[in-house]
Symmetry: C2
Subunit: 595 residues, 2 copies
C-alpha cells in the first residue's frame, strides 16, 4: 500500500502542460471501459481530470485497471496530451493524462449514493455518510468560501488593532432567555459548568480589563428546540470595543462586509449602509429585518378611514387599533386564488382577514369598495402612492400586530410577483437601530430584555425607565441584508447603578442578581470604560455568500433538527462508571425521550 506522492493537483492541469509528466493522487469519480480505451475521471480537492489507458500499447495496465471501481484511491503517473473530444464544462476539459503507470492505494465499497453535484438523495442518508457527501465539489466549494471568509475576518481585525482572545467554553450557567447546555463537574460533584450562549460577559470583562478591542471567532451553544435553520452549536464573530459609539461599530463592520463581498464575490458594496430605526422598519416594512431590495411600503390609513362605516375598520379603530395598508406593487394581476393564499398566510400571523384593493387605470377592483367613499379610496391610493397594476392589502389590528402581518405578506407578495428571483444576486445592507429596550411577555407577565440585559438605554429615554419602560429605546442595532439578520449588537451599560436598575426592571431578585451576575456587577465597580460591540452569525454570512438556504451546507458536521449527529450517532449512551464519577443518575426510564 505504498504509493507515489503527487506532484500536481488534478484540477490545475491545462493545455500549456501538454507533454509534461505528472504524478496524480485522487479518487475515481467514474470509469468507462469503451473496449478500445479505458477512461477514468480522477478527482482531488482541486478538480477532476480525465485519465486514459490504451489497451493496445499497455495491455498490462488495461488488465490491472479492470478492478478499479468508483471512489478507489489511485496514484497515477503519465503524460499530458490534448483531448480529441474536449469537455468545455470543466477547466481541465481540453487535456487528459495518458497513464504510464498507476497503483491502487485503497479500495472502496460501493457508495450508497452517487458522489455528484445536484443529487437528490435524501438528506438523512447524506448526513449518515457525511464523508461521502463532503466529497461533492459543490459542497467542498462552500467550505472553501468559508475558509476564505475566516482569513478575511482574522486579517481585517488584526489590521484594525483588535486582539483575538479566547474566552472559556466551560463557564457559569446564567440562563436568561435560551437554555444552557450543562456539563457536570466530576471534581465538584453536584455542580455544573455551562457552555456559552455567547461570550457576552467575558467580552465585557475584557473591556473592563483594558483590552480596548477584542474579537474572536467563537462557538456558541443554545439548547433550544431547533428550527430548520438553527444548530445547537453555531459560530459567531464576536467583537467588542471601548471608548466608542455606535457609529464606530457600524463603520468597522461596513468595512468588513465591503472587503468580504469584494474578495469573495467581486461585488462592490456601497457604504455607509442605510440606517433605519426599528420604528421606521416596523411601520414601513412590518419587519425588524426588512428586505430593501424592493420597495412595497406600508402606510397608515387610520386617519383617512376614521369615520368609515365599514365595520371591520370601525371595530379596529374603536379598540385603539390601526388600519395599515401594504402596497404590493405590480401585484394587481394576482388571481383570486393567490390572494386567498396570501390571506391564509396572514391568518397564520393572527389576522382575522385581509382586505384588498386592486388599483386599475380608471377605478378599483375591491370587495370593500362599496363600504368606502370615492374620496376615501382616492386618499388611500394617494397615501400609498399606488399606481394602476398595484395591489393594496389592508390589515386592521393592534398597531404592531397589523404591521407584523403585513411584513409577512410583503415577503410572500415579492416571492409570488417574481421580483425575488430577479434580484437574487443583489445585496442590500442596512442597519436597524433604536430597538425597544424591553419586550413585554403576556405569558409570564413581565418585561424581558429585547437584546440582553446589558444593553444601554438611549440617554434621552432614561426618564421613562421608571414610568414607562416599554417606551425606552436601546442603543441596540442589527445588521440586515436581503431580509436576513447577519448580526446584532449594542452599546453596553458601563455604570453599575444603571445595570442594577436594569436587572430590577427585569424582575430579578437581589439574590438572583448576586448569584448569577454578582461577579459582573462587582467588575463594573472598578473603572469600566464605555464600550459596545456586535456579534455576527458566521454560518449565516457564509450561507449568504455561497447562496444556500440550508445551514447544514456550511457546517462540516451538522446536527439534525433534533440534535442528532447521524454520522457518529451522538448523543449516545455512556457507561455507568462515567455517570458514577459525575455523581449523577438518569431519572427513571419512563421519562426517557418524553420532555
Amino acid at each position: 500500500m505504498s504509493f507515489i506522492k503527487k506532484n500536481k493537483n488534478c484540477g490545475e492541469i491545462r493545455l500549456r502542460n501538454t507533454n509534461e509528466t505528472f504524478v496524480l493522487n485522487g479518487w475515481v469519480s467514474s470509469r468507462r471501459d469503451l473496449g478500445g480505451l479505458v477512461f477514468i475521471d480522477l478527482r482531488d480537492r482541486s478538480g477532476i481530470i480525465q485519465l486514459v489507458i490504451e489497451p493496445e500499447n499497455r495491455p498490462d495496465l488495461y488488465e490491472k485497471a479492470k478492478e478499479i471501481r468508483s471512489e478507489f484511491v489511485l496514484w497515477v503517473g503519465g503524460i499530458i496530451r490534448e483531448r480529441s473530444n474536449p469537455n468545455k464544462t470543466i477547466p481541465t476539459g481540453l487535456v487528459e493524462l495518458l497513464v504510464s503507470d498507476f497503483g491502487i492505494i485503497n479500495r472502496s465499497e460501493l457508495p450508497p449514493f452517487d458522489i455528484a453535484d445536484g443529487i437528490d438523495t435524501n438528506e438523512e442518508l447524506r448526513l449518515k455518510y457525511r464523508y461521502l457527501d463532503l466529497r461533492r465539489p459543490e459542497l467542498q466549494e462552500k467550505f472553501i468560501i468559508r475558509n476564505k471568509f475566516y482569513q478575511i475576518v482574522h486579517q481585517y481585525f488584526y489590521e484594525n488593532n483588535f486582539l483575538e482572545v479566547e474566552t472559556p467554553i466551560l463557564m457559569k450557567s446564567t440562563p436568561e432567555g435560551a437554555r444552557d447546555f450543562l456539563v457536570p463537574s466530576r471534581i465538584h460533584n453536584g455542580r455544573f459548568y455551562a457552555l456559552p450562549q455567547s461570550p457576552q460577559l467575558f467580552k465585557q470583562i475584557l473591556m473592563i480589563s483594558g483590552f480596548e478591542r477584542y474579537m474572536q471567532i467563537v462557538k456558541c451553544f443554545r439548547d433550544e428546540d431547533l428550527r430548520s435553520d438553527r444548530q445547537p452549536e453555531f459560530t459567531q464573530i464576536d467583537v467588542e470595543m471601548s471608548f466608542i459609539d455606535q457609529e464606530d461599530i457600524f463603520k468597522l463592520i461596513e468595512g468588513l462586509m465591503q472587503k468580504t463581498w469584494k474578495e469573495i464575490l467581486n461585488i462592490d458594496i456601497i457604504a455607509p449602509f442605510r440606517r433605519m430605526t426599528w420604528e421606521e422598519a416596523m411601520t414601513k416594512y412590518g419587519s425588524d429585518k426588512p428586505d430593501l431590495r424592493y420597495c412595497m411600503e406600508i402606510s397608515d390609513i387610520t386617519s383617512i378611514v376614521k369615520n368609515s362605516e365599514f365595520k371591520v375598520f370601525k371595530d379596529a379603530i374603536e379598540e385603539n387599533g390601526r388600519i395599515e395598508v401594504l402596497n404590493a406593487e405590480g401585484c394587481g394581476s394576482f388571481s383570486r386564488k393567490q390572494i386567498d393564499n396570501i390571506t391564509d398566510l396572514a391568518k397564520k400571523y393572527g389576522a382575522k382577514g385581509l382586505a384588498w384593493i386592486k388599483v386599475q387605470e380608471k377605478d378599483v377592483n375591491s370587495p370593500i369598495a362599496k363600504f368606502l367613499t370615492d374620496d376615501e379610496i382616492k386618499y388611500i391610493i394617494d397615501k400609498c402612492a399606488a399606481k394602476p397594476g398595484d395591489l393594496l392589502l389592508i390589515s386592521s389590528d393592534k398597531k404592531y400586530k397589523a404591521l407584523n402581518i403585513l411584513g409577512a405578506v410583503r415577503i410572500e407578495c415579492a416571492k409570488q410577483s417574481g421580483i425575488l428571483a430577479k434580484i437574487k444576486n443583489q445585496y442590500s445592507f442596512h442597519w436597524v437601530t433604536d430597538f425597544p429596550l424591553f419586550e413585554w411577555d403576556e405569558e409570564t407577565n413581565r418585561f424581558y430584555a429585547m437584546h440582553h440585559p446589558f444593553t444601554s438605554p438611549l440617554e434621552e429615554d432614561f426618564k421613562y425607565l421608571d414610568t414607562d419602560p416599554g417606551k425606552v429605546r436601546a442603543k441596540a442595532y442589527d445588521l440586515v441584508v436581503n431580509g436576513a439578520e447577519l448580526g446584532g449588537g449594542s452599546i453596553r451599560i458601563h455604570d453599575n447603578n444603571i445595570q442594577q436598575k436594569m436587572f430590577d426592571k427585569l424582575g430579578l431578585s437581589a439574590i438572583e442578581i448576586e448569584e448569577k451576575f454578582g461577579f459582573f456587577i462587582k467588575a463594573l465597580k472598578y473603572g469600566a470604560p464605555p464600550h459596545g460591540g456586535v456579534a455576527l452569525g458566521l454560518d449565516r454570512i457564509v450561507m449568504t455568500l455561497s447562496g444556500t438556504d440550508n445551514i447544514r451546507d456550511v457546517i462540516a458536521f451538522p446536527k439534525t433538527t433534533s440534535g442528532l449527529s447521524l454520522m457518529d450517532g451522538s448523543p449516545s449512551n455512556v457507561s455507568n462508571e462515567q455517570l458514577k464519577e459525575l455523581a449523577i443518575k438518569i431519572i427513571d426510564e419512563v421519562n426517557v425521550n418524553i420532555t
Copy 2:
C-alpha cells in the same frame, strides 16, 4: 457620563508630537499631588503617559482633579510638551500632556491589589479579580504575543493551501485514555454528548472526505486531575494532510516555527530540525523530550562492569538490568549535599540509589571506586568521554527505568550547574520519531496505544504485531523544544483491516469497537487516502514565546488546578428545573465532593 473620544493612544506619543493637541481615554495608573502640580499617569492598552495639571493656571481643573483616584476612567484633552524630568524607562518618558480639560468617565473602588508589573499578590486573589490582573502591562503583553501567533498560524496555513474547518464541540463519547466531559441531552434523555479531547476522528474523516489539507485552532477538553501546567480546556493547532509522509509534516511545521520565531522574537531558527528516534532519545538522554541545549549524555556500561564484584551492579545485571551512566559535565564540584539531593530525586523516580564518580585530573573520587578495578574505571571514563571536573551518576536497574531516572537527574544537574540560566534564550528544536506503538500497563495487564489507536505501525514492524507487539514502532513523532513537548502526531492507519487489528491488540471487544468506532471503521471502507497529521499545543507554544512557566499567564480566564473559575464561581449549582429537563438527578449528598 458622556465623554470625548480619544484621537490618540497614550503609549504612542513621542517627542515629535510636541505642541500637538490630543484627546486621550484611559485609566489612572497613579496620581501624585505635589501641591504645586498634579501628576497623573494615564494608562491604556498601548502604554502609559504622564498628565500634568497646573493649579496656578487652571485652579478649576485642580479642584476637579482632587477626587481622582487610581483606576478611575478619564477623558483628557491637552497639549504635548517636553518633560523637565524625563523618564527614560518608558517610551513616552520624554513628554507629558498638559491638561486643558478632562472628565471622569467612570469611578473605581480601591482595587484589592496594586495594578503593576512584578506584584507578588497571591494568585488566588488575582484570579478572583482577573479583570484587574489583566490590566497589568506584563500580562497584556502575553496576549498581544498570543494574538500575533494566531495570525501567523492562520496566514501560514492559508498560504499553504489548508482549509480551516470547524469540527463539532458536541460529539460522541469515546473515552480511551483520558476522561470525557459529558453533556446531557435534553431532547434525547439518558443520552450524552461529549466534549472533544481532540478532533482526531473528525480530522481523519475530513481526509476521507477529500479535503486533503485541514487545519484548525481548536479548543479541546480533558476531565483529568489537573497538574499545575494543565487546564481542563486547552487550545491546539490541529493539522491533517493526505497523500503525504512524515517528512512533509516535519517540513510544514518547521516552516511555521521559523516564521513564528522570526516574526515574534526576531530569532532565526535553523531547519531542518534534528530527527532523533525515541530509542536514541531514551538511551542518550533518558527522556522522550530531551533538552538538547546542553550535552550531558548517558552511556551504557553494562558490558564494562559485567564481571564486577560490586553487588549493586551484579544484582542488577543478574536481573537483566542495565548499568547506565550520566555524564553530568562540569558538575564535579557538586557538594555532598547536592549529590544527596539528586539521589533523593532519583529515588522519587524509583531508584534504589545513585552511585557517583567525580573525575579528577589524576584519579577519581567515588564511594564505589573501591569496588571497581582501575581498568573498569578507565573504560567507564572513556565510554562517557568524561573529563576532569565531570560528575558521573550511575543507575542500575531495568533499562528504561534506569534511563528514566537519569533523564530526571540530567535536568536537575543542568539546573544546579547554572547551565540552564545561561541558555535560557536559546531554542533547540528537534523531532523525536519512531515511538513504540504500544505501552504495556502493569496495572490493567494490557497494551495501550502510546499515542492513540489510529497511529500507523512502521511497515517493517508489521511482522511483530502478532508475535511481539511491544517491539512494534509507530510512525509517530513529537516536536520538542528545550525539553518541552510542543506537539505530536503520526501517520495514521488508512487500511480498515489494520485498524481492526489495532483495536484487537488493544483488547477491545467486537461490540466495543462497533459501538465506539463503528462509524469510523465504516468510513475507512470507502476510499480512505494515506494521511497523517500533527497537533501542537498552542498554550504551550505561547508560554515558550513569552517566557513563562505558568499556563495561567497565557489563558485569559483560566481555571485553578481543581477546575474552578474563581472569577465567576463556576462550576456552580443549577436549578432543579434545569436538571429535570435533562432527566438527571444528583446522587445523594453524601457523595458530594467525594470522588
